[in-house]
């Protein structure tokens, strides 16, 4: 009954490779996000999708391409991996609603990417 899940949990790969991270939520939310946490623990938004439509793209290199096949899934594909891409990538989801908790975000367990 996991709310927001990500696969894989760990990813070790070499420079120049292409890799994907998958995210799924079963909360019935309509908005999904990718955040990046660097080695100093700083968390920053990368992308956001609402109902499969891209609404945030925060100056991320175009080697990173998100894809949302449906409202419950948001995947992140990374081409030509670089050493600086090493980080923990978190997926999150939320539901916009007119009452109650506007846009409260719930996070997945993270994917630790190590590029060697």
């Amino acid at each position: 009954d996991t709310a927001v899940s990500q696969t894989p949990k760990y990813l070790v790969t070499q420079m120049g490779n292409d890799k994907s991270i998958k995210c799924e939520q079963n909360l019935g939310h309509d908005t999904m996000y990718w955040y990046k946490q660097d080695s100093k623990k700083f968390l920053k938004i990368m992308f956001s999708y609402n109902n499969k439509e891209l609404i945030i793209n925060e100056t991320v290199p175009n080697r990173f391409s998100p894809k949302s096949p449906d409202k419950a899934h948001l995947n992140l594909h990374i081409n030509s991996l670089e050493l600086g891409d090493s980080a923990v990538y978190f997926c999150a989801s939320s539901l916009k609603r007119s009452g109650g908790n506007w846009n409260e975000q719930y996070f997945g367990p993270g994917t630790r990417l190590t590029v060697t």
Binding site: Y35, K41, I55, I56, V88, W102, E104, Q105, Y106, G110
Partner: protein, 110 residues
């Protein structure tokens, strides 16, 4: 964009002590959330609190939106409270993205 500052950056306490973590933000907010990142890296939702006061067991939070700050109180600390506490805010017209503070690293010593 909106700025979020957290203090103190580090806090080391004995088990059983109480603590107060602070989050200052530079603009009005639609959303403010407190998270605990445990030693395994998981981000756990603690509070959704753009204004007012909430309590959940030994934890409570207060946000004074007009003065642009939020406080997280932890009472009778336990070793399982160790980790990094993040405050994150969403500014109006911010496209629903959360801007995170730099966190407070809390270490509880047995």
């Amino acid at each position: 964009g909106i700025q979020v500052e957290q203090s103190p950056p580090d806090l080391i306490l004995q088990e059983g002590a109480n603590s107060t973590l602070r989050c200052n933000f530079s603009d009005s907010v639609n959303n403010l959330q407190w998270f605990h990142q445990n030693p395994w890296g998981q981000l756990i939702n603690l509070f959704y609190i753009p204004s007012g006061t909430k309590q959940n067991g030994r934890l409570s939070a207060t946000t004074v939106a007009t003065e642009r700050y939020s406080l997280l109180y932890i009472s009778s600390s336990q070793t399982t409270d160790s980790g990094v506490y993040f405050c994150a805010v969403e500014a109006p017209f911010g496209n629903e993205k959360l801007t995170f503070g730099t966190g407070t690293r809390l270490t509880i010593i047995p």
